[in-house]
């Protein structure tokens, strides 16, 4: 306890003494964690978006207007039998029109003028999101489109898969960049702490000569690194939160309209804590590296 107090007092004084260099170290930690946090936020929101899209109807099987009840039943049986199908729903011509008029109130008059219902009846099919079997889905779509009474089959699974692939790629690249920035931040902290140590080599020599325990000699450097990392992490969180607030205020409604995402998500308190702890860990590594160099 007393040792901790000593570590913090020394580390605080040393930070203040070398505040310019310390600011640099804190900045690198901030940049590193900002990138990490930005990536995590984008990732979380893209995940939500993908999940939402995956929920939406993925395959529409449009029927011809003159499809017979048997033909419709055959299509229904095919869908019910397929392991790739999670659920499906029949939307009759009347239902489709009602939906259209509800969704596009401006155009409601148009359908009245036409005098007839231009919308086809359809099965709206949800595929199992875990089913990565693209070939199977393609085969299902092909056989359905050839079935009698079916006008057209549309599905956006392919597009979704490409999106998922792109997201995965983005994830990989970001992780590499974040790792590099993280190492750079730890090294900067190490060098700045070591620089601060050089300013007090006389103290360290006396500590050695009077028999001060190794923990007492190294502790302040580790604490100094941890403080730099922690402050850097708080800075990153603050920047991220500001960015998040601006993005929500400016683009929130636009995003909701364009891609159907109702608001952006920020970190949970647990996640924020993890980020700060992560920054401290990076700083701790830097402090340890510097402390090992001090003899």
């Amino acid at each position: 306890m007393r040792a901790l107090k000593y570590f913090f007092a020394e580390a605080g004084a040393s930070l203040w003494h070398g505040r310019r260099a310390a600011a640099l170290a804190i900045l690198t930690v901030t940049v590193g964690l900002f990138l990490l946090g930005f990536f995590l936020l984008v990732n979380a929101n893209v995940d939500r978006l993908v999940a939402q899209w995956a929920q939406a109807a993925e395959m529409s099987v449009y029927l011809t207007d003159d499809a017979s009840a048997e033909q419709r039943a055959a299509v229904e049986a095919t869908l019910a039998a397929s392991p790739l199908v999670r659920s499906f729903e029949y939307v009759s011509k009347v239902d489709a029109l009602a939906r259209f008029q509800h969704d596009f109130k401006d155009l409601a008059g148009l359908t009245n003028e036409l005098g007839e219902n231009p919308l086809p009846a359809a099965f709206e099919v949800r595929l199992r999101s875990s089913a990565g079997d693209q070939a199977g889905i393609d085969a299902l779509a092909a056989s359905l489109s050839k079935a009698p009474g079916v006008a057209d089959v549309r599905y956006d699974r392919q597009w979704l898969n490409r999106l998922l692939l792109a997201v995965a790629l983005l994830r990989g690249v970001s992780l590499v960049i974040i790792t590099i920035v993280g190492i750079a931040a730890a090294l900067t902290v190490a060098n700045v702490v070591r620089l601060a140590a050089y300013a007090r080599l006389d103290e360290i020599e006396i500590m050695h000569l009077v028999g001060s325990p190794a923990a007492f000699i190294r502790g302040p450097f580790v604490v100094e690194g941890v403080l730099q990392g922690g402050i850097g992490a708080l800075g990153a969180l603050l920047l991220l939160w500001a960015g998040y607030a601006v993005a929500t205020a400016r683009y929130g409604t636009m995003l909701a309209d364009a891609i159907g995402l109702d608001g952006l998500a920020f970190f949970s308190p647990m996640m924020m804590l993890l980020l700060v702890v992560g920054g401290m860990a990076v700083g701790c590594v830097g402090g340890l590296v510097a402390a090992r160099g001090v003899r």
Binding site: R2, Y6, D202, I206, L209, V210, G211, S212, P213
Partner: protein, 219 residues
């Protein structure tokens, strides 16, 4: 308390700083090490503080062979030794009081005891009124007294001093020596390296004269 047996210290290329040195210092004794420049006085004190290890021979302090100490034991051994450097080695950024309190502080002593001990020794060397000054604002003699106060703050059983009067005029030198005599009178073993023969004569204690790493005279 100190027993050296056939002690040698060789630096690079066969330069003997100490050569086959044997000596004994009793507990509670006050001993001078003297001799010309390069005789090996500082080398012996460095071995005593376990800053370096002997090349040959044994150096025993209180029955412990300094060559056999593990790192933790080195720390605890050093805590029982007070050292006064010729160049003082005071920390210029810290006040006189902080310099002295630094030792108990980095040994993890409670804060109240740090302050009490530091104040006691500063009073003892007669500098309690300069507690808040910075070392560089003090005279050489005052700085040396601070360095001595710092060496004593942890109640060592042994005090080592390397040329503690090297930069001081004769009157001040004698004053400093009186401090060491007082420490010694309280039972602490004292070893002082100096080439000031006049000073040794005035203090009148045992003196070991070294030359080229060997004892050439005992008086």
């Amino acid at each position: 308390m100190i027993e050296a047996y056939h002690l040698s210290k060789v630096y690079s290329r066969g330069v003997y700083a100490l050569r086959d040195l044997s000596l004994t210092v009793e507990k509670g004794e006050f001993v001078f090490l003297t001799g010309p420049s390069g005789a090996g006085k500082s080398t012996f004190l460095r071995l005593m503080l376990r800053q370096e290890l002997p090349s040959e021979g044994q150096l025993m302090v209180s029955g412990r062979n300094l060559s056999d100490l593990r790192p933790r034991e080195v720390q605890s051994y050093r805590r029982s030794v007070g050292f006064v450097f010729q160049d003082f080695k005071l920390i210029p950024r810290k006040t006189v009081f902080e310099n002295v309190a630094f030792v108990p502080r980095v040994l993890g002593a409670p804060e109240a005891s740090q302050r009490r001990k530091a104040f006691q020794v500063l009073k003892w060397v007669g500098l309690q009124h300069r507690m808040t000054a910075l070392p560089l604002d003090l005279s050489g003699g005052e700085q040396q007294r601070i360095a001595i106060a710092r060496a004593l703050v942890n109640d060592p059983m042994l005090v080592l001093a390397d040329e503690p009067t090297g930069n001081l005029d004769p009157d001040l030198s004698l004053e400093i020596m009186n401090l060491f005599r007082e420490i010694n009178a309280r039972g602490t073993t004292v070893v002082v390296a100096t080439h000031d023969r006049e000073l040794i004569r005035q203090v009148g204690r045992r003196a070991l004269t070294l030359d080229q790493g060997q004892i050439v005279e005992t008086s």
